[in-house]
Amino acid sequence: MVRLFLAGLAILCACLTANAQEADLQPILQEHQEIIAKSSRKTIKPAIDAIASSGLPQAQVMLETWAAKNMWMRKSDGLFFSGQKGEGRSYELTDFDTGEVVGTFEKTELKQLKPNSGIRAMIGTALVQFQLTDPDRARRQAALQSIQRDPEGELLDPLRASIDDEPDADLKAQKQRLERLLTIGYDTDTGARVAAIEEMSDDLGVDVRAALNPLVVTNRQAAATLPSDMNIAAVLQPDSDDLSRDAAYDLLVASDLVAPRVSADDIRAALAANIDRGRVEGVPVAQLSSAAARAQAYEALAEAGAVPALITEADIDAALAAHVFFDTYAEPSPDVTAAAAHALEQIELKVGLNQTLDLTLDAISLASIYFLAAIGLAITFGVMGVINMAHGEFIMMGAYTGYVVQQFIPNHTLSVIVAIPMAFAVTFAMGVAMERLVIRWLYARPLETLLATFGISIALQQLAKNIFGTQARPLTAPGWLDGAWVLNDVVSISYIRIAIFVLAMIFLGLFLYIMKRTRLGLEMRAVTQNPRMAGSMGINPGRVNMLTFGLGSGIAGIAGVAIGLFAKVTSDLGSDYIVQSFMTVVVGGVGNIWGALAGAGMIGFLQKGIEWMNPSNTLAAQTYIIIFIIIFIQFRPRGIIALKGRAAGD
């Protein structure tokens, strides 16, 4: 089998060589020797066309050599060769046709051809047709990409020619798609273009929109009468919503159809230029501090013929009435523009639907982050009723734990796997210590708990700053979390966000399991509902409170690792999330994990929704969300999912 293949290859080579001997490139080059040597972008085109259309296989090598500035002309006879730097200032020349070394020459005997970037681009275009049929798949792929980057009408024919012989199915599909796009933009036959447009009108690709958009670009113009030789998109009425009075007149001025208005600055300059012994046309300068006085003086000047007359409103009306205003398409064919506009409309609709889907995914991922940040709080604040302002700092400590672990374990996957339990352990211990040392003395004093934990929060933040510095530390996600899951050109979601969503769901399950199925959960619920009764039933409330608080803190630590993977790890990391976390719990409904989930969902969707309406301003989005929450609490003071009745503790 291998032998057979080699034999085939040998025959192919032989054929190619044989072909090469039939016709030579050098004569073609000589025919255009003058313009090649001159190397001017304006005149070079015939030479490149001739070389490219020669159909000679060595033309590709020759063009590449030229573009790489390795082509030399021998001054003695004007022949072109490929040059290779030899010893000293000498160059070894090779013939393009035979591929044989012609000899070594001193630099002084040669002239190097240095095509400028414009010419190199033209050579590149010419090369594309060779590359499109190149046996190497990677080069064909590269050629397609270069066409996509820089589409031109001349490439249409070589592209079409290369489709049938394309052996690779994937590349063939790409070529066909590209052919359609080029047809839309550059085919000479209007019918073919319209057909291509209609064919592509259900495609969401950015490239399709990029091909269609230039077709519907309009240019606003004004003229005395409506021209008949232009593809007119719309005729506009001046002084309407589409075209304001001022804009219409400015358009006339820009088209040199009327005289420009005299601006306030012009009046001022004209008056200043015509001051005569402290007066302008009899008006004292000191009185010129109002617009009316200035206009009066200017009119006097205009009557005297010293300055151009003011354009009055009546002048403007007359000018507007005497002209027509219209938008024209740059594309001359009305069929094409109509088809393109229609296709774009259809595409926009689909894009809109897909954007909604994308936004929904974004919102879900944001909600997962809030949920993750708030779930620990749902335990300490929601279940225990302890307000912990240092919760954000536990998140920060989790993230820093991840960073420290990565300093010891370079493997990112392994380090994250180690970091999660480590972060839990560190923040669990910290939470237990805090509960034992501070919070348990303050159970009856909720506001003081708030203040004491705030003291801990600022101390921890400054400690982190002292230890790790103020600059952000990297917590690198494993390689397999890089990249995104791409549905189409509109909808995509990064893997890391999917991972956070999954993590949030795992925590939800874990939380439900602990609360509903374990002894600790049972004791937790008992202690929070009635500590004295629980105590008399043999439960140690102190121990349960300690463990509960530790659990909430530990989960905050794990959330910190997750958040650190996509956010910058700084000492302020926690404070960025603390208010949102509390809002999540409060809005959702205290004492209920589903409440936290609902709260996170609502805030996440709301934030994305507001950002979508005003994408340039994320600060405003946060402001509006907080205002919304304050108003929301008016109507549902106990949150979305409220506990009712006496159990809620009025």
Binding site: L643, K644, G645, R646, A647, D650
Partner: protein, 246 residues
């Protein structure tokens, strides 16, 4: 005797639990009434409804000659209309003196500007003195309420209620945790008060109820089980079954 307060057909549900079930209740002016019932019978919720703390799901609460509906009024408005309430545990303002406590409760305008520019009149001072004598705290006027004994706090709270000059007094377990002498004084206070106004007392202690010697309403599972004199209700078989028999 005209009816001062009429509660009719009131029901309240907490998370599916029916705390009050189609309850009807009436009390006239200058009447003393004791409400008894086992734990969870709805005694406290009943008071919550009258004072506006809990809104019933259905039913009517009608007040006074003008037949004013109390549903929908705020707690403060209901209190201003003339209903005073004493909680189970003594709730006085411990950080303030007995004098301040009584002065705050004294029947006066409640608007914040009126209060801000309020100057103590000799008339008001006299009222406070009289009340202090009545509740036996005239020697303790300048002491902080937090320093008082449990029984004294209860009296102070009753005194504050009286200062409000309400037409209806709701008193929740006034005798709990008191010494026998203190109980006697409390009984006197309540009987004294009931001469001029309606008083509803919620109580567990049968001895105390007997001493008050008045009409008794028995609540059970959120509705009235029996009503009448203490002897009458204690001989009622239903009452014996659900409450006394246990």
């Amino acid at each position: 005797m005209s009816t001062l307060l009429e509660v009719s057909g009131v029901s309240v549900t907490f998370d599916g639990f029916r705390a009050i079930n189609n309850l009807s209740f009436q009390i006239g002016e200058a009447e003393l009434r004791v409400v008894i019932g086992p734990n969870g019978a709805g005694k406290t919720t009943f008071m919550d409804i009258i004072t506006g703390k809990t809104r019933p799901d259905e039913g009517r609460v009608i007040w006074g000659e003008k037949s004013l509906s109390l549903l929908g009024l705020s707690e403060a408005k209901i209190a201003q209309a003339g209903i005073g309430r004493k909680f189970q545990k003594p709730t006085v303002f411990e950080d303030q003196t007995v004098h301040e406590n009584l002065l705050m409760a004294l029947q006066n305008k409640r608007g914040w500007l009126r209060v801000l520019f309020y100057r103590t009149s000799t008339d008001d001072l006299q009222k406070v003195e009289d009340l202090a004598v009545e509740i036996g705290l005239h020697h303790d006027l300048s002491r902080k309420a937090g320093e008082l004994s449990h029984g004294q706090k209860q009296w102070l709270e009753i005194g504050m209620l009286l200062a409000q000059e309400p037409r209806l007094l709701l008193v929740d377990e006034p005798a709990a945790g008191m010494t026998p002498q203190e109980r006697e004084h409390t009984t006197d206070l309540l009987l004294q008060a009931a001469r001029t106004r309606a008083v509803v007392v919620v109580e567990h202690d049968m001895e105390f109820v007997r001493r008050l010697n008045c009409k008794v309403t028995v609540l059970h599972e959120g509705s009235v089980l029996a009503e009448g004199s203490l002897d009458h209700v204690t001989s009622n078989q239903d009452v014996i079954d659900v409450y006394l028999g246990r």
